[in-house]
């Protein structure tokens, strides 16, 4: 199987975040890591390759710093990497990110494309399914089990409240992977050294720009919720106070 894994670099989960000056995103000076569900997607791809042979290619879109997630994937056993490298990729919405990825892999015919079900930063859960739409491929989301069959793939999906669903898909297909589908491997120190010699193709902004349009989604303002502590005292006879409290809970707080 020839498998593509889409990986995103996101701020570390424990990193203290600071807003940027325009209040539209966070400041760049935080530590970054691999988006967790993407790490599971990579692990699943590597396991499928170990079982059935083939090739694992990893792709990311982001500034120079995001090459780190590709290096890590190569160290863990991916065969080659594609880096859509430009600061501008950070601002893209899910649709344009999917378009950019689709454009970068237009020449390749993957049997399977996997990615995490959502990113730890934006959490839109859209890039994977939009990529399937753009490439005209079937897709399934929140996958927790992949089995290759003669006709394609037998998949286990996680639904709400402890329910599962089994679906069969032909290949090629796009899957979004749930965290915990497998146990992540470590990049071995030897793997880290070998990663240096694996091919890493860079794709410039200009190469995919014709396929992009204006963002459909845009962050207007990002802010830390302001803590408010307001106490209003209601005086008067008990019946009157009770009536006002009920009114407040019903109409203002809307909790009853």
């Amino acid at each position: 199987m020839k498998i593509l894994v889409c990986i995103k670099q996101v701020p570390q989960k424990d990193a203290p975040l600071k807003l940027n000056e325009s209040g539209t995103w966070i400041r760049e000076d935080v530590s970054y890591e691999v988006n967790e569900p993407d790490a599971y997607a990579l692990e699943e791809a590597l396991r499928q390759k170990e079982k059935h042979g083939g090739e694992v290619v990893v792709i990311t879109a982001g500034p120079a710093r995001s090459q780190q997630v590709l290096r890590e994937a190569l160290a863990k056993g991916a065969d080659r990497a594609i880096h859509l490298e430009d600061d501008k990729f950070v601002q893209l919405d899910s649709t344009n990110t999917a378009r950019a990825i689709a454009a970068a892999v237009a020449e390749e015919n993957f049997d399977l494309i996997v990615t995490g079900l959502q990113s730890d930063d934006f959490g839109a859960a859209q890039t994977g399914v939009l990529l399937a739409e753009i490439l005209g491929l079937p897709h399934a989301t929140i996958i927790i089990g992949i089995e290759k069959t003669d006709s394609g793939l037998h998949l286990k999906r996680e639904l709400e409240a402890g329910h599962y669903q089994y679906v069969d898909l032909p290949t090629p297909a796009v899957l979004t992977i749930q965290s915990g589908i497998n146990k992540l491997r470590y990049a071995s120190l030897i793997g880290i050294k070998q990663a240096k010699n694996k091919p890493l193709r860079k794709v410039a902004w200009a190469e995919v720009e014709p396929k992009l349009s204006k963002n459909l989604q845009q962050i207007e303002r990002l802010y830390v919720p302001v803590k408010q502590k307001k106490t209003e005292m209601i005086d008067g006879p008990a019946a009157e106070v009770a009536r006002k409290v009920t009114e407040y809970l019903k109409n203002t707080a809307r909790v009853i």
Binding site: D14, S31, Q67, Q68, R71, E72, A75, Y186, A187, S188, L189, I190, G191, I192, K193, K196
Partner: protein
């Protein structure tokens, strides 16, 4: 309960590292977090070496990581140092085990060994399928190894070894011991021998009652008329300089390891001080005296990182001297021990228990201060280097 380690980087230190260096560090950090942290307090209590981790350590390339070939990872010295830092963030004893296997067993075989010795031992040691120990120190000769009494006598095609070694990490779990002995028919020149531990006359026993490095094995070795084939002599060894070259490797790793222990103590104290409330329901981190301690710790840790990094860069360029490594080892272990004591102070009574890693680090670091050249001996090495006058 202990806090999840958040990493320590005050001065943008990570920006000084390249991708491979960060990735090596992160791999080791994750490995330790997942596999050692959950069991280390129990290991420390029981005085148990977590041998179950050895195969995976071998698989990931942690043994002899800065050697090239023979199944070793071929890491730079900075990468190797960062891995040591992460191991000692977990535990000094476990880091000591890796140091011994890597710097004191694999390094001498790699540097002084015959092709046959390298071909046989290095791949097995790299995988962790065989373990090794390093026999230099003796009951009566610690800081002055040149006084050693262990002797090797050439008899036909064999050497016969006699002597006692003491404070030997991994002694009773080793398959091979690197034994340093004076060779009688070479005018008592110190040479190194590879002694398989199942040879008649070789015995090892554990040191009991340790209050330090409880998660690693510390042993005494006894050699009574142990016969080894002449080919077990490491041909490249000659004089005390050979074992001291090994110690230089290990000391370099220790200088990084100590930073890890200090980071663990500092991070624990910082997180604790932000949660613990005293006086007017305020976190103790708001108290000036607590802030002074945290400031001291983070300053010293940051300086130690820069010191080790510079020594590592020089080592990678082949420009480092032993006195540079002495400075890094001496300074960093001292500051780590001070950090452990300050951190313990911030945690008050809670710092005493093994709910938190601080007291374990503190006790471990007492050994680290002494082994691989004591704090005072490194003082004299630096002193001689700047004055030109030996003061031992």
């Amino acid at each position: 309960m202990a806090f999840k380690f958040k990493g320590v980087d005050f001065i943008g230190f990570d920006a000084l590292l390249n991708e491979d260096e960060r990735l090596s560090r992160d791999t080791a950090r994750q490995f330790i977090e997942d596999n050692l942290i959950p069991i280390i307090e129990e290991c420390n209590r029981e005085g148990r070496f977590p041998r179950e981790l050895v195969p995976q350590m071998g698989e990931l390339g942690f043994f002899g990581a800065n050697l090239h070939g023979y199944g070793c990872a071929g890491m730079s010295n900075v990468e190797y140092g960062l891995v040591m830092q992460e191991f000692e963030r977990g535990d000094s004893g476990v880091r000591s085990f890796v140091s011994v296997q890597s710097a004191l067993v694999m390094y001498p075989i790699f540097t002084f060994g015959s092709d046959e010795q390298k071909d046989y031992w290095l791949p097995l040691l790299a995988k962790g399928e065989k373990l090794g120990c390093f026999g230099l120190t003796e009951p009566d000769f610690g800081s002055n190894p040149g006084g050693m009494r262990t002797r090797a006598r050439k008899v036909g095609d064999e050497y016969v070894l006699n002597g006692e070694k003491m404070w030997i990490t991994s002694g009773t779990i080793s398959d091979v011991a690197v034994i340093w002995a004076k060779v009688e028919d070479e005018d008592d020149r110190v040479r190194g021998f590879l002694v398989e531990t199942d040879r008649p006359g070789f015995s090892a026993y554990d040191v009991h009652g340790k209050w330090s490095l409880r998660a690693s094995v510390t042993s005494g070795l006894s050699l009574q008329d142990v016969h080894v084939p002449a080919k077990n002599l490491m041909p490249g060894t000659g004089g005390l300089k050979s074992p001291l070259m090994c110690l230089n490797q290990a000391r370099y790793g220790i200088s990084w390891g100590a930073i890890g222990a200090a980071m663990s103590c500092y991070d624990t104290a910082l997180q604790y001080s932000l949660l613990r409330k005293q006086f007017r329901d305020q976190p103790i981190a708001s108290h000036q005296l607590v802030q002074e301690k945290l400031t001291w710790m983070i300053s010293e840790i940051s300086k130690a990182q820069l010191l080790s990094l510079q020594v590592g860069r020089m080592k990678d360029e082949g420009k480092v001297s032993f006195e540079h490594i002495s400075m890094a080892k001496r300074n960093n272990v001292w500051m780590a021990l001070e950090c452990a004591r300050m951190a313990r102070d911030i945690l008050g009574g809670n710092g005493i228990t093994d709910d938190y890693p601080i007291m374990r680090h503190m006790m471990n670091l007492e050994s680290v201060k002494t082994y691989e050249g004591t704090h005072d001996i490194h003082t004299l090495i630096i002193g001689q280097s700047v004055t030109g006058i030996p003061a031992y």
